[in-house]
């Protein structure tokens, strides 16, 4: 009799618990639904629309199917290939340099005995607060023919004629890369510092006692510990480099002769300037999407292995 009562009681509470769990679970959906719906409407739905557009040609409501023509056109479009090359140059040069640079600075600032740490950290992070447009203009005016850099080099006697930094392909690309490193290093450095601060400092002290050099410490303690952060910053920066727009648009306007134009800038030009061609622009943006996805997968694979 007692057993039956007990079992009945157990069943009742279990039922009660389950209904409580169901209720809580249902409320859990209410928390995540607004964000989910917004991402579906503002990201996934437009992606499907863009996919459809990329197989069409025409303007406004006069769209007609053209099959894969837009994609075929990509490989004959000289400006597109130029934009792809430029973006790759920025990606290959800027991302690794910036990540290593940020890691080096973070390791230096992670020293417990370092004075003025707060000042150094703030100073290096400060560029990240400046808008892309503002910094692009600052660099543009600093490196212009009558800009500060030339004036400085002339006054100190390093140069005797003004250099047209933004007038040559290599010069303009270098200015963009220097600008990007200036703007973004601090942000990555903060992420690395945060990861490093989770490491117990005594690990370093033990290594020091064992006679490990600073470089050895870096490779055998720091590097393995910040690996997830490196992966994260690598994916983010690759994504950012592939979507570069403001620098190309404001700093050099793609010039000289498209030597610095980026993929996003070219897509913008095809979409909204001269004679808009939404279909072709959509095909190009799917190309960028594929690039981002492929690179992210490669990075995750490499990150897992090491």
């Amino acid at each position: 009799m007692r057993l039956i009562c007990y079992t009945k009681y157990k069943m009742k509470t279990a039922k009660h618990n389950r209904s409580l769990n169901n209720r809580i679970n249902f409320q859990g959906w209410l928390f995540v639904i607004p964000a989910t719906i917004l991402i579906c409407c503002m990201s996934f739905y437009p992606m499907i629309r863009a996919l459809i557009l990329s197989f069409q040609k025409g303007v406004g409501s006069n769209m007609s199917w053209t099959g894969a023509d837009n994609y075929a056109r990509l490989f004959h479009d000289k400006v597109f290939i130029q934009a792809l090359t430029n973006t790759s140059i920025y990606l290959i040069l800027q991302v690794p340099v910036m990540i290593i640079w940020a890691l080096v600075l973070a390791t230096m600032l992670n020293d417990k005995n370092l004075k003025f740490k707060g000042f150094f950290r703030t100073a290096i992070f400060l560029p990240c607060t400046v808008s892309l447009v503002a910094y692009a203009i600052i660099f543009r005016s600093m490196f212009s023919v009558d800009g500060f850099v030339n004036a400085f080099l002339l006054n100190t006697g390093i140069l005797n004629t003004r250099v047209n930094w933004l007038g040559s392909a290599i010069g303009a690309r270098s200015v963009i890369i220097i600008g990007m490193i200036w703007r973004w290093t601090g942000f990555n450095m903060i992420l690395f510092l945060a990861a490093l601060q989770n490491v117990d400092y005594s690990v370093y002290e033990a290594a020091k006692i064992d006679g490990a050099s600073a470089i050895k410490q870096f490779f055998s303690i720091t590097l393995p510990l910040v690996k997830p952060t490196i992966l994260f910053t690598a994916i983010m920066s690759t994504n950012g480099a592939l979507q570069l727009f403001d620098e190309s648009f404001v700093l050099t306007n793609g010039g000289p002769a498209n030597a610095t134009i980026t993929l996003t800038h070219y897509i913008y030009r095809v979409s909204f300037q001269n004679s808009p061609n939404f279909g072709y622009a959509a095909a190009m943006s799917y190309f960028v999407l594929a690039l981002v996805a492929i690179l992210a997968i490669i990075q995750m694979k490499v990150g897992d292995k090491r």
């Binding site: 100073a123 560029p127 447009v133």
Partner: protein
């Protein structure tokens, strides 16, 4: 030898800091000089600031652009923090298989380059009549996988016992979130606020596409438009850049501590 090494470190870091700050210093100083002084490479503050300022407000509607930028950025920050923290909290506290799958798909959207959805978004917003408006500015970036992820990671360190205790006390789920969670996660909110506000204030491509009337121009657009003139007045230009830069710099200085704490909490 050791001291030499240490002092080398300080010299190196000081040099890097100077290089880091210099362009901003140059911009601030140039805003107080005449265009000719700027070109000649003058590095000391001048007395021409008010003059540059006057020239700027005569030629451009700075106040309108500033108000637009402020309105857009504040609305976006507020709504975005609400929506994304709700989602981050929900995905962590009520996580089950189905929600994990949904979360995975939301994270996939991180890979979607903005330019890929630019045209469809523009078409959708033109049809809905959202062009030239704050709602058009904020809608695409209210819900970002980055912020959801950030809140989800930080919620991991939020003790679940508190939630259980609050449930036993008869708090509803929403009340636990607003009364218990939000006050405890202040530093995450402040960090998220800093990042979102900066991104919103600084964004350029999207407003450039949808803000087509003079009345809806934002500050970064106004600054970029100054370059289209035949002769560029560098003094005036740098005043405009200063106006564009100051709000984010000030916010960063005020929230610096919670910003680093919040970022640290979300990378763990």
């Amino acid at each position: 030898m050791k001291r030499l090494k240490a002092s080398f470190k300080y010299i190196f870091l000081t040099l890097i800091s100077i290089l880091s700050i210099f362009p901003l210093y140059w911009m601030a100083v140039s805003s107080t000089n005449t265009s000719t002084d700027v070109i000649s490479g003058k590095l000391l503050p001048g007395v021409n600031f008010i003059n540059n300022w006057r020239n700027l407000i005569i030629s451009q509607d700075v106040f309108q652009a500033f108000t637009n930028s402020a309105k857009n950025a504040i609305c976006l920050t507020f709504i975005s923090l609400l929506v994304c923290s709700l989602a981050g909290y929900g995905f962590e506290v009520y996580h089950d298989k189905k929600k994990d799958i949904v979360m995975f798909f939301l994270l996939l959207s991180m890979m979607v380059p903005f330019v890929a959805i630019l045209i469809p978004l523009f078409q959708m917003f033109a049809k809905a009549g959202f062009l030239n408006s704050t709602i058009g500015f904020i809608l695409p970036t209210i819900s970002t996988p980055f912020l959801i992820m950030m809140f989800r990671q930080s919620t991991r360190s939020f003790p679940h016992d508190i939630i259980e205790a609050a449930r036993i006390d008869g708090f509803s789920e929403m009340r636990i979130f607003t009364r218990v969670y939000i006050p405890t996660m202040k530093s995450t909110y402040l960090a998220a606020m800093t990042i979102t506000f900066m991104n919103a204030w600084n964004s350029y491509l999207w407003p450039k596409v949808i803000m087509m009337t003079n009345k809806s121009v934002t500050i970064p657009m106004l600054v970029a438009n100054l370059l289209s003139g035949y002769v560029i007045d560098y003094g005036l230009l740098n005043v405009a850049i200063l106006i564009c830069t100051l709000p984010t710099v000030i916010i960063f200085f005020f929230l610096q501590k919670s910003f680093t704490e919040g970022v640290a909490g979300s990378v763990k």
